[in-house]
């Protein structure tokens, strides 16, 4: 009996030894890329794996951005977190404070390499940097823009090459489109909570104190103030006139736009390829509508970046770094941009795209990019917001929009209610961190 057991044990040890000796470095990669983006991402990962026989990157789809972040937190607490996680811009401050990650700027240092971070597009670099150091790897960056149905514009007697520039024009065009009987509702927002942030940044208004949480942990949100109430009141009026329809969150309203039920959509540029492929009409894109007479800011970066869990072995870290370098390859960056609509993240990729005439061939791929490149980036307000409990605060803002649009609360009351919750969440976050 004893000898049989010893024998078995020896075989087991032998097997596991052999397994370890030949094992690839396995890198688990959690992401939130659904729909048409998923196939594009999987092709990139498969290509990488076939180029690197000693590394296996395993992509795991973990739901929406919100779910991916919260799953990562739960997994980290349970000790089963992946090597790489894709976190949307909302989770940036949470990740910075987490103590659970290694900032990407340190990875080449650990591996004894030098890396020129200047090769990435500046607005992206600025968004994900703390004190000039990049904390997460830029992968899928985007911003919001206006999509519109040119066929609808023609049918309503509007100039298809003159999309609305201001919210007043949105209202004016909207009335015409409804009167002409083309649609019942005119415009919807993808990521409605994010569109609110976009409007504040676009007009150089701060969202939270301490420079939008960029110079220290934010202690309170700046709304409701005159401008944010104006945004809410305008949108509520549009909603009550039937021009604006609240058609759900994230990518929910895309179906209404591509089916022709509405004529305009504010949505991430990352939906561009999906929309161009499904829409059976001529799609136009332009910059976000503005409020006339308000100061100029910039649209803010959205999308997500890649974070690396701390405590990786040297081999794992090297594998992760190889993968990141591969993602930054000009050809890979271009493939990713052309098939999703996300920004080309490196300067070299932009040059090659320009040289081959891509932007002339597909000007819609340039819209959001131009919008962010021409805006200012010298103020905290135009650079974007960093808040610890941002996921919760976005939830409160969505609630406030739903309450204001349905008339349950006045726009100012809805904002004030959300602000009280947001401030409590900010206080709780600082309490938990002991700051």
């Amino acid at each position: 009996m004893k000898r049989a057991l010893t024998f078995l044990l020896l075989i087991l040890v032998g097997f596991s030894w052999a397994y370890l000796g030949y094992a690839k470095t396995r890198i688990e990669f959690w992401h939130a890329m659904s729909g048409s983006r998923l196939k594009v991402l999987e092709k990139i990962v498969n290509d990488f794996n076939s180029l690197h026989p000693d590394i296996e990157v395993v992509p795991v789809f973990t739901g929406t951005y919100e779910e991916t972040l919260t799953k990562f937190i739960a997994a980290y607490r349970a000790g089963t977190a992946p090597h790489i996680v894709q976190v949307y811009e909302v989770g940036t401050q949470t990740m910075i404070d987490s103590g659970a990650i290694i900032p990407v700027y340190q990875i080449p240092e650990v591996l004894g390499e030098t890396w020129d971070w200047g090769q990435y597009i500046l607005p992206i670099l600025l968004y994900y940097s703390v004190d000039g150091n990049l904390w997460s790897f830029p992968f899928n960056s985007s911003t919001s823009m206006l999509y519109y149905n040119k066929d609808h514009f023609r049918a309503a007697g509007l100039d298809p090459n003159k999309p609305p520039t201001t919210w007043d024009e949105v209202e004016e065009y909207g009335k015409k489109l409804i009167e002409a009987g083309i649609v019942k509702n005119v415009i919807a927002f993808g990521w409605p909570d994010w569109q609110f942030e976009q409007q504040l940044a676009l007009h150089n208004h701060l969202y939270a104190d301490n420079d939008n949480g960029r110079t220290g942990l934010a202690t309170r949100v700046m709304w409701p103030d005159e401008f944010s109430i104006k945004v809410f009141e305008t949108w509520t009026r549009l909603a009550q006139e039937g021009i604006l329809i609240y058609a759900g969150v994230e990518y929910d309203p895309n179906a209404a736009f591509t089916s022709g039920a509405i004529s305009m959509l504010l949505q991430s540029t990352s939906s561009l390829d999906g929309i161009l492929k499904t829409a059976k009409f001529e799609v136009g894109t332009s910059f976000l509508p503005r409020f006339a007479g308000e100061p100029i800011g910039n649209s803010v970066i959205g999308g997500a970046s890649l974070w690396v869990r701390k405590g990786l072995s040297y081999d794992e870290l090297r594998a992760v770094w190889e993968f990141f370098k591969y993602l930054g390859n000009t050809d890979v960056t271009i493939y990713w941009h052309k098939n999703t609509g996300y920004f080309p993240a490196t300067n070299a990729a932009v040059k090659q795209l320009m040289d081959e005439g891509w932007f002339a061939k597909s000007p819609n791929h340039l819209t959001a990019f131009l919008q962010i490149l021409i805006g200012r980036r010298d103020t905290a307000a135009s650079l974007g917001v960093r808040l610890g409990p941002f996921v919760a605060i976005r939830d409160y803002i969505r609630s406030a929009m739903e309450k204001a649009f349905s008339g349950a609360l006045s726009p100012a009351e809805a904002l004030a209610e959300a602000a009280a919750k947001a401030n409590a969440a900010l206080e709780e976050y600082r309490l938990a961190l002991g700051k």
């Binding site: 103590g99 759900g248 089916s259 039920a261 739903e402 309450k403 349905s406 309490l431």
Partner: protein
């Protein structure tokens, strides 16, 4: 019942051990952990933690959205239980009539239970999509009212309740059909001989005879309306609009896993446990005392 394993002192304990162990590992231990967590404030990643006493409970009882969530849960449960059970009983009575194709009707009404709440959620979300849903379209054609469950709180609750009732219909109808088949024909015939009409026969004979089934279904539907609708809510409304469909269990989930307030959610789970335990004890007490059992 009285003869308990004579001569074996350890065996009975050994036999119940596996289920007790499962309960301890999966229910008791996590519950104690949650109870302890509710007295702390922990950072999202759990890296720092400090004792804060009853702060979470104070917050909870002064939080108007929690009071609202509590009300919403009861309101929703009442619609689902009363609406669902009356509809199911009505359908069950119809499909147990001797008509051509009874078997087809019985199966047709039962199959909705074969769908998980998540699938039911997808179907109903498409049906009542504010911009392209056929349900929204038909409803606005019939009544002239434009409904949008993504911004109208009451619409959201009603659409959700309709989906929940539809989802549970098969289960309830199934049990009522079985219950109806067990009502002795002699009693109904005796009533009819005594001159009672079908309406009176139903309320005086059939309905009381069904009370064990009803009691059981009320219990199951309460659990359904409180917990299992989670999938439905997650797919359709995510607790919105403006928290209008955030029933207790969904609020707990969002506070813990979306808003990353684990400690606050732990306090909620302790309170939810007490509420559900009290409800269950009350219902079991009522149903065992009031239901008519044929022996």
């Amino acid at each position: 019942m009285e003869a308990r394993f004579p001569g074996y002192r350890v065996l009975p304990y050994l036999l119940v051990f596996p289920s007790v162990a499962v309960i301890i590992v999966f229910l008791v231990v996590p519950f104690i952990q949650a109870a302890i967590q509710s007295f702390f404030q922990t950072s999202p990643f759990g890296t720092t933690s400090s004792f804060v006493g009853v702060r979470q409970y104070k917050l909870l009882f002064s939080d108007p959205s929690y009071a609202r969530s509590l009300l919403t849960s009861w309101y929703f449960a009442l619609i689902v239980i009363i609406g669902g059970l009356s509809l199911s009983l009505f359908i069950a009575v119809l499909v147990t009539r001797r008509v051509r194709g009874t078997a087809f009707y019985q199966i047709a009404f039962i199959w909705t239970y074969a769908l998980s709440p998540a699938v039911a959620g997808v179907i109903w979300a498409l049906l009542f999509d504010p911009a392209v849903g056929i349900g929204t379209y038909v409803f606005s054609k019939l009544t002239g009212i434009a409904i949008n469950y993504t911004i109208q709180g009451t619409t959201a609750i009603l659409v959700l309740a309709a989906a929940a009732i539809w989802n549970m219909l098969g289960y309830n109808v199934c049990f009522y059909i079985a219950g109806l088949q067990n009502v002795p024909r002699e009693l109904e015939e005796a009533a009819r001989v005594d001159g009672a009409g079908p309406w009176r026969t139903f309320w005086v004979i059939t309905f009381p005879m069904l009370s064990p089934t009803t009691a059981f279904l009320v219990f199951v539907n309460t659990i359904y309306a409180f917990f299992q609708v989670f999938g439905l809510i997650d797919i359709m409304t995510k607790g919105g609009p403006g928290g209008a469909t955030e029933i207790l269990v969904y609020k707990l989930y969002r506070d813990a896993f979306i808003r990353v307030r684990y400690n606050y959610a732990s306090a909620q789970s302790v309170v939810l446990f007490l509420i559900v335990a009290a409800t269950a004890i009350f219902q079991l007490w009522v149903s065992t005392r009031r239901a008519v059992y044929l022996r």
